[in-house]
Amino acid sequence: MIKIKDIHKYYKMGKSSLHVLKGINFNVEKGELVAIMGSSGSGKSTLLNILGLLDEATEGEYILNNIPIENLNETKAANYRNNLLGFVFQSFNLINYKNALENVALPLYYQGLRKKKRQQIAIEYLEKVGLKDWATHLPSELSGGQKQRVAIARAIASQPKVLLADEPTGALDTKTSYEVMKLIQDLNEEGNTILVVTHEEDIANMCKRIVRLKDGVITEDKKIKQVLAKVD
């Protein structure tokens, strides 16, 4: 599903340049649930942004869903993001004046679906994350856990090939974190490919594989025994 080879990323800081990713190689197969771990500044978010086409690698090779990603212009990137990728962010990034249903329906708008169809699909995915009754609520009327579940519903509504989650539990307490991880595990069981960036060991252990990053290089890449998220 994802193949990256020798990815480098430099940030220009005036005259000097900051070398954030120093040659990353790894592959993700379909149906995997991978945790990318590392302390802050290890380059894990940068890696995720490159994988998510939100940012470009300075050098290296990236193949997503058998499509080589090169010479991207913004329009092409937008179309790939729309059709191949789903995003979940630490700060949810819901549009604050749109209610839960409209937020979930938004990627479908950019896929060119009609309004009726969009709403029908959106309500389906809200039900999947257990928030059907909250469809008409604005983000400000939802709890953190509920917001993140709406964001997940939005990310998967367009049926992406890969779901990318950047610290999805970073702003949540332990209980709601586990609820969100349970949802992610369920989605993975349905066959979705998911990458989770985190710095929390317990969250990482709920995935099936852990990739550890330190100072822009992979220090460890191992399959683990998955811990199932317990929700009381």
Binding site: A78, N79, R81, N82, S91, S158
Partner: protein, 409 residues
């Protein structure tokens, strides 16, 4: 480009961001409104101005006597020139093919009484044709006629405000007023567009006045109306001919220009029209200034709106919005809001202007108006520039990378 789905999306955005929509709409509506009001008032000022200068007939020469400055034919300098009745007759005779009418004017001042009321008024002793020269409008009764002149009748035509002062609600026609000790019968009441001063004066037959002032045949000035067919150039030519004739007649040196003054209304009018043109220029300038201020206002609001939406646009891009669709969305919204509020401003402005009507006349603004073409043109300009003002920041926003837009503040 303008499909139903994107309109739906925009209406939802507008509906849910009422304050933002109101603010940008208000700026546009206010811009158009102020433009229309200012432009209309400028036009009103122009109206008043033109009326002032169109008060008198435009084919008229006012001939005033002066003093000589050059000794000539045995006469000393500094001699006061006087016009007599015979001058009137001579001019009439010599220029009869060019002249429509000629009338003398003698200024008289003094106290006028009726019953217990009395006041000091400016009076003019004139011939019947003076009515045309001053565009005097008779409200009641009649003007001075030939009969009055021949019989040196003691009749008076009083201004509207004189009637108000002396007679209050009483009908003045047929009543006698005391002018400097002589009783005159009021035969008419007039009004004049020239203002309060004109309407606070009294007309008398010039022959009567000459009789009262011990039988002199002096007149203070002469007013000559030339035939309209002569036009502006003909008027100038006649002015010169009469000037030469009077110099000859009164033994004035050919190069002495202070002995006779001729005031040609048609050349005054030309100057006045030039001034009106400058006024028009100022009005246009003010209008354009207002429009530019409006455009700057919209640009500011648009920059602010796009800035405020940076994060939203980043989210939209992250979930698959192309740069094109982002620009399209902002532009479509900007055009929609500016068009609707532009039209609202247009209607309110025109409505207010129409209702002002004559209310501002005391402030020299008469009948303020704006032509619909100008108003619609201004609205279109504002809409076009409003869109351009939206396009520039929208394009920049569409270029920002989603990561940067999504960065937490």
């Amino acid at each position: 480009m303008f499909d139903k789905e994107s309109w739906q999306e925009i209406f939802e955005t507008i509906k849910k961001n009422k304050l933002r929509t109101f603010l940008s709409g208000f700026t546009v509506a206010l811009g158009i409104f102020i433009f229309i009001i200012l432009f209309g008032m400028g036009n009103g000022l122009k109206n008043t101005f033109q009326e002032f200068f169109l008060d008198d007939a435009t084919n008229v020469l006012f001939i005033h006597p002066g003093r000589t400055t050059i000794p000539y034919k045995g006469f000393k300098a500094n001699r006061q020139i006087e016009f007599k009745n015979s001058d009137l007759e001579n001019i009439k005779e010599n220029f009869k093919f060019y002249i429509e009418y000629i009338t003398p004017r003698i200024y008289v001042g003094g106290i006028v009484r009726y019953g217990l009321e009395s006041n000091s008024y400016q009076m003019r002793a004139v011939a019947p044709s003076h009515q045309h020269a001053e565009k005097t409008i008779i409200m009641k009764g009649r003007y001075i006629n030939e009969n009055d002149i021949t019989h040196k009748a003691k009749v008076a035509v009083i201004g509207r405000l004189v009637k108000q002062d002396l007679f209050k609600k009483e009908n003045p026609i047929g009543k006698f007023i005391d002018i400097r000790g002589n009783l005159f019968k009021v035969v008419g009441v007039f009004q004049d567009d020239g203002g309060d001063n004109e309407e606070r004066s009294i007309y008398l037959p010039y022959t009567t006045q000459q009789l009262i002032s011990k039988g002199t045949d002096n007149v203070n000035m002469m007013i000559v109306a030339f035939r309209k067919e002569l036009g502006y150039v003909g008027g100038i030519a006649l002015e010169k001919a009469i000037n030469d004739y009077l110099k000859e007649e009164k033994n004035i040196a050919p190069f002495d220009n202070s002995a006779v003054f001729i005031n040609n209304v048609s050349s005054d009018l030309k100057e006045a029209q030039g001034f009106a043109g400058v006024l028009q220029l100022i009005v246009t300038f003010v209008g354009m200034g207002t429009l530019i201020a409006g455009i700057i206002g919209i640009s500011n609001i648009m920059v602010f709106v796009v800035k405020e939406r940076t994060k939203e646009l980043g989210i939209r891009k992250a979930i698959g919005a192309t740069p094109r669709s982002v620009i399209k969305m902002i532009l479509q919204e900007a055009i929609f809001i500016t068009t609707i509020s532009g039209i609202i401003g247009l209607f309110i402005g025109v409505f207010v202007l129409n209702n002002l009507g004559l209310k501002l006349e005391p402030y020299f603004i008469k009948n303020p108006y704006i032509s619909l073409t100008t108003a619609i043109f201004a609205t279109c300009i504002l809409i076009i520039f409003g869109s351009i003002a939206g396009y520039v920041p929208a394009k920049r926003a569409a270029k920002i990378k989603p990561v940067i837009a999504l960065r937490d503040e």
